[in-house]
């Protein structure tokens, strides 16, 4: 039976985007309000998705023929992996709109169009049960982001946007070819069908490479990461939040949803390489973050490090680690989302992002200070907050079969504290540096309101992650069934 909820969640924002696009006369504030209301409604409507199937199956399925001659269908559904990511997306969207009150003053209507189109695309990515449909959403979510950076970005926005675009396209073209080949081979693009498709090891090898390349660019896995810092630095706050919060997860989500179950032999064969790159990413990203002077670059490189943990957890091919990895996708969205929002707020006041320009903000902006410290503690994995649970599960699960990788990755826990506490100290503590510090007002109630849900979730996941993990684990087990079998055969 078809459940229209997912269609509504994708169609709603898309329709609103079209509507906004077709109303050139609409003034900025009504346009922004409309965007806010639509994103809020989408969030509310997405909450029932969290009632997932305890066995790890798909719920809220919707299936209709689309391009029948190739077996391509308009097929949607969510499980315990997709549902939290969809809800994370719908949660971040209204926050991004709320944040835009502070820094987007031109082309407000178009900003709304882009955000809504992006939201539709991202929900589609996580909900698609058909490979071709997935690809369409995958591209659909990227174009608005590209425009968001290119139009609303900072001084070097064109360069950053083009770089983002080229990296992504370079990754997704092989993906498209691989998808088309697969669809022709199987006569269907349905994931459930494709899972049963017997593939020779040679075929798996290049298909895996094509899929993994596209997703690893997105993650980004070292050495494919250099687009990320430029994109983050130039992107407007909202762009950074969505980029870090959701877009990067499309990469790790793809690895889990497609690479591991569809190409289990190749996944297991190449797991050591991915584990090594993940560990390098964790340590190298952390070192790079430490060497940065620009607030946004610090967080950008910290994402390279944190997403390294996620890839590590996935390719350890172990249920606990992979469940932790999915949880960490959500966690990273919350903590990094909060950090980018906070940096955006300080940038709106100071018009600088150089760490050296700041100091002593704890005295003049105590609310900001508390929020920044909390987001930092979440990011560096202090127990009691969400980040720790994810890291812990990834590492403890990885340790079982790959103690060396887990051991090296654990050093990243230490390095993370070094650069993040450096950032906290530089911004909040010590003597006041910037002569205008006293004129920057503390966070107002709009800003606190938009941060509040993120902090509430950080604490909730930190103290009682069971509810979420119980949803995540069954589908993760399904994804890992095939690669586990391969491992046991070996």
């Amino acid at each position: 039976m078809n459940d229209p909820l997912l269609v509504l969640l994708i169609g709603g924002p898309l329709a609103a985007a079209l509507l906004l696009a077709l109303l050139p006369g609409l003034r900025p504030e009504p346009a922004r309000l409309l965007t806010l209301l639509v994103t809020l409604a989408t969030f509310a409507a997405s909450l029932p998705l969290l009632a997932t199937d305890a066995g790890g199956g798909m719920t809220h399925g919707f299936d209709a023929p689309w391009i029948a001659e190739f077996g391509i269908r308009f097929s949607l559904g969510v499980d315990g992996i997709a549902a939290p990511l969809v809800v994370l997306t719908t949660l971040l969207m209204p926050l991004v709109v709320l944040a835009s009150y502070g820094h987007v003053h031109d082309r407000v209507r178009q900003y709304g169009v882009l955000l809504l189109a992006m939201e539709a695309g991202m929900i589609g990515v996580f909900a698609a049960q058909d490979l071709v449909l997935f690809y369409v959403f995958f591209e659909m979510s990227l174009v608005p982001l590209y425009l968001l950076i290119g139009v609303y970005g900072g001084a070097r926005r064109t360069y950053a946007a083009l770089k983002f675009f080229l990296f992504t396209v370079a990754g997704s073209l092989p993906l498209l070819l691989a998808i088309l080949w697969l669809v022709q081979r199987a006569g269907s693009a349905d994931l459930a069908v494709l899972k049963q498709l017997p593939l020779a090891p040679g075929e798996q090898g290049w298909l895996f490479a094509a899929f993994a390349a596209a997703f690893c660019v997105k993650v980004p896995l070292v050495p494919l990461h250099t687009w990320l810092p430029d994109a983050h630095v130039e992107a407007p706050t909202g762009g950074s939040v969505i980029l870090a919060g959701v877009t990067l997860k499309m990469g790790t989500y793809g690895l889990l949803r497609f690479c591991l179950p569809l190409f289990p032999d190749a996944s297991v064969r190449h797991a050591p390489l991915l584990l090594a790159l993940a560990v390098i990413g964790i340590l190298y990203g952390a070192l790079l973050a430490w060497a940065q002077k620009d607030l946004k670059k610090i967080i950008a490189y910290s994402s390279v490090s944190h997403l390294g943990f996620v890839v590590l957890g996935l390719f350890a091919v172990q249920t606990t680690a992979a469940s932790g990895a999915v949880l960490q996708m959500v966690n990273h969205g919350l903590s990094t989302g909060a950090l980018f929002l906070l940096i955006g707020m300080i940038y709106e006041r100071a018009h600088t992002r150089q760490l050296a320009d700041f100091g002593g903000l704890a005295r003049t902006m105590p609310r900001f200070a508390v929020c920044l410290v909390l987001a930092t503690l979440s990011s560096i994995g202090v127990p009691g907050l969400n980040g720790f649970v994810g890291e812990f599960l990834i590492l403890i699960g990885t340790w079982r079969d790959h103690p060396v990788a887990a051991g090296c990755a654990s050093v990243g826990v230490l390095l993370g504290a070094i650069y993040m506490l450096g950032l906290v100290k530089g911004l909040l503590f010590g003597p006041i540096v910037h002569p205008k510090t006293a004129t920057w007002r503390d966070l107002n109630s709009r800003e606190l309101l938009l941060l509040a849900p993120l902090f509430a979730l950080m604490f909730a996941i930190g103290f009682a992650p069971k509810a979420l993990l119980d949803r995540i684990e069954p589908p993760v087990q399904r994804m890992l069934e095939a690669p586990r079998l391969v491992q046991e055969r070996r």
Binding site: V382, P383, W399, A406
Partner: protein, 639 residues
């Protein structure tokens, strides 16, 4: 009992949250009174838990309570189940007793001490959070919760050291403490990962029997597993080579130094060693590493303490040195003796820190011993209390430290006597440290309270108000009777040892003959008294003997005053190379990794010059071309 456990954790957390949220509206006094009331209630609860356990038969003295299930993942031997709850047994309750007991006294003291500081309510919020974390550390029913508290106390320490965040030194010291502790935390984490793989559980209640069974069956554990936890313990308990954060931590308010950096948090490492005593005993040479690290730390820090000018730094190095004794005891297998010293140390070191706080308070922030002198005339009560604390620290009978320290030295001697020659080295180091301890304790007391005044002419020090004096008096009494009350080996009076016995790995060592015990005790007493006399003599009057000694050995004296230049060495060997590596990585990233990508990009740009035509900046155009491109590609590929 589960209610008691829940309240022991819930009350401090509730108080921390409440004060934290309202901290800008609460006065220091209100917040402090609330926090003190909470801490005192927690002490009552700990006493209740103690009496409950006492009523149970000896081999059944443990209560587990689960509050909620934290997570359940995996199946079979890869199942990971973690609950949130408490594990009350003699070990955890002993720690809870002195944490809440000494804690309450320090909370009370803080009310007056912090009265005129800005941000007093914020201070108490952090203090409550600390109490919550510390109790989670000791009462948590599995290693995961212990780790939660472990990191939590580190965080509170970070926040409280950096309490005066406007001061660069304070902010820096806080960060240093957190980072050095995190090195240890990584060890703890790896230990947990490995433990789960080997035993499939992290629950204290399940782990201890499994370990004991393995021990009885003669199964040896990998020593590296024990060393993972040991690294964690070294970080938290400031042992070589990770002790460097503790002296800097003195940048925090003095009651914080007393509570966190002397009496409670820094003993978490010893708690962990005791909690995992069966694991350490089963792990071959791991205990030797613990013993030698402890002895080396005791001696090393004892030497540095000889020449510190700052009264709090003397006490800080003294703490490091005493923690070394506790590690030595653990390493010798005498976990109960270690716990004994933890408890007496909590009494007398808290007393010394609070006393020094009263001095600093009276002198409006002066911490330099060379700017004190003759204070016994102005602060007679404080001087009296501090003297008791110093006697206890120096190991002079019948004060508390004498009994616990003497027991540790006795075990080292007994091991050597039983035929382990390496233990002569350990015993020697312990005796030497005891001499140093007596010497620097006397030096501190003499410079501070005796002789003629070196104060500013305008300074008129006054005794501290009652809320500060009461804790001092209580702790002075405990420093007097806390040793003999809890254990006197030569008289076979060992109530603390018997109480802890069911939770610790037993000490496999034949007891020394009674005459030898008495002889050793007399020796220790004489050494302490002798070196106290020497210390007092060297530093009284114009300190002529001390100056002469410094002139005779200028290099050694310089190295002591410079704290053996450990910070400088770490800076040169670790911090700077790491920074250089980060800078190098950045250059590599920009030039090589991104350079390669840009090279490819330029190539692509050459091919796609045509793309520029459509780059005219309007959103609609971009969107059009992107969608058109995607459709065209799709079409081409499908066709």
């Amino acid at each position: 009992m589960s209610t008691v456990g829940a309240l022991l954790l819930g009350l401090p957390l509730a108080a921390a949250t409440l004060i934290g949220i309202l901290h800008r509206r609460l006065s220091t006094r209100t917040a402090g009174t609330l926090a003190f009331a909470m801490a005192a209630t927690c002490f009552g609860l700990a006493v209740a838990a103690f009496t409950h356990l006492r009523g149970l038969p000896e081999d059944a003295r443990h209560v587990a309570a689960t509050f909620w299930s934290f997570l359940e993942l995996g199946r079979g031997d890869a199942a990971l189940t973690l609950d949130v709850g408490v594990w009350l047994d003699p070990l955890s309750v002993t720690w809870a007793l002195f944490i809440t007991g000494v804690g309450s006294l320090i909370f009370l003291y803080s009310i007056s001490y912090m009265e005129h500081e800005a941000g007093g309510a914020r201070y108490f919020a952090c203090l409550c959070l600390f109490l919550f974390s510390m109790l989670t550390l000791v009462l948590g029913k599995n290693l995961f919760l212990t780790f939660l508290g472990w990191e939590g106390v580190g965080l509170c320490s970070y926040l409280l050291i950096g309490f005066e965040y406007g001061k660069e030194t304070a902010a820096q010291a806080g960060r240093k403490a957190f980072l050095v502790n995190r090195i240890g935390d990584v060890g703890f984490l790896l230990g947990m990962f490995w433990t789960w793989k080997l035993f499939g559980t992290l629950e204290h209640g399940e782990l201890t029997p499994k370990l004991a069974a393995g021990l009885a069956a003669g199964i040896a554990l990998p020593p590296l597993l024990a060393l993972c936890y040991f690294v964690g313990a070294c970080g938290k308990s400031a042992q070589l080579p990770l002790f460097v954060w503790l002296p800097d931590a003195m940048a925090g308010p003095t009651p914080v130094s007393a509570l966190i950096h002397a009496a409670t948090m820094v003993t978490a490492g010893i708690y962990l060693l005791c909690r995992l005593s069966s694991l350490f005993v089963a792990a071959d040479w791991a205990l030797d590493v613990v013993a030698f690290t402890g002895a080396a730390t005791a001696l090393f820090a004892g030497l540095i303490a000889l020449r510190q000018r700052d009264i709090k730094r003397v006490l800080a190095y003294s703490t490091v040195s005493q923690l070394g004794y506790m590690f030595l005891a653990c390493g010798l297998g005498a976990f109960a003796s270690s716990a004994f010293h933890v408890v007496t140390h909590a009494f007398f070191k808290a007393l010394l820190f609070l006393g020094s706080g009263a001095v600093i308070h009276a002198l409006h922030g002066e911490q330099d011993l060379w700017k004190m002198g003759g204070l016994k005339h102005h602060l007679p009560k404080t001087a009296f209390a501090m003297r008791i604390g110093a006697f206890a620290l120096a190991g002079i009978a019948p004060f508390a430290g004498f009994f616990s320290k003497d027991e540790i030295l006795g075990v080292a001697f007994a091991r050597a006597y039983a035929g382990d020659p390496a233990c002569w080295v350990l015993w020697g180091a312990g005796v030497l440290t005891a001499a140093l301890t007596a010497f620097y304790s006397a030096r501190m007391i003499t410079l501070c309270f005796d002789g003629s005044s070196r104060l500013d002419a305008h300074s008129h020090p006054h005794e501290a108000p009652a809320p500060m004096a009461i804790p001092l008096n209580v702790l002075a009494v405990l420093s007097l009777v806390g040793g003999i009350g809890l254990g006197f080996e030569a008289l076979h009076w060992l109530p603390l040892h018997h109480w802890l016995a069911p939770t610790l790995a037993p000490l496999d060592l034949p007891p020394l003959p009674g005459a030898l015990l008495w002889g050793l005790m007399t020796l220790a007493f004489l050494i302490a008294v002798l070196f106290w006399r020497i210390g007092a003599k060297w530093y009284s009057g114009d300190c002529e003997p001390a100056r002469a000694a410094e002139l005779t050995f200028p290099r050694f004296a310089g190295a002591l005053a410079g704290r053996f230049f450990v910070d400088e060495i770490y800076g040169a060997l670790i911090v700077r190379p790491l920074r250089f590596l980060a800078a190098l990585a950045l250059q590599f990233d920009v030039r090589v990794v991104d350079g390669a990508a840009r090279g490819l990009g330029q190539f692509a740009a050459l091919v796609g010059t045509g793309v520029r035509i459509v780059q005219n900046g309007t959103v609609q155009r971009y969107a059009f071309w992107m969608v058109a491109g995607a459709i065209a590609l799709l079409w081409l590929a499908l066709g």
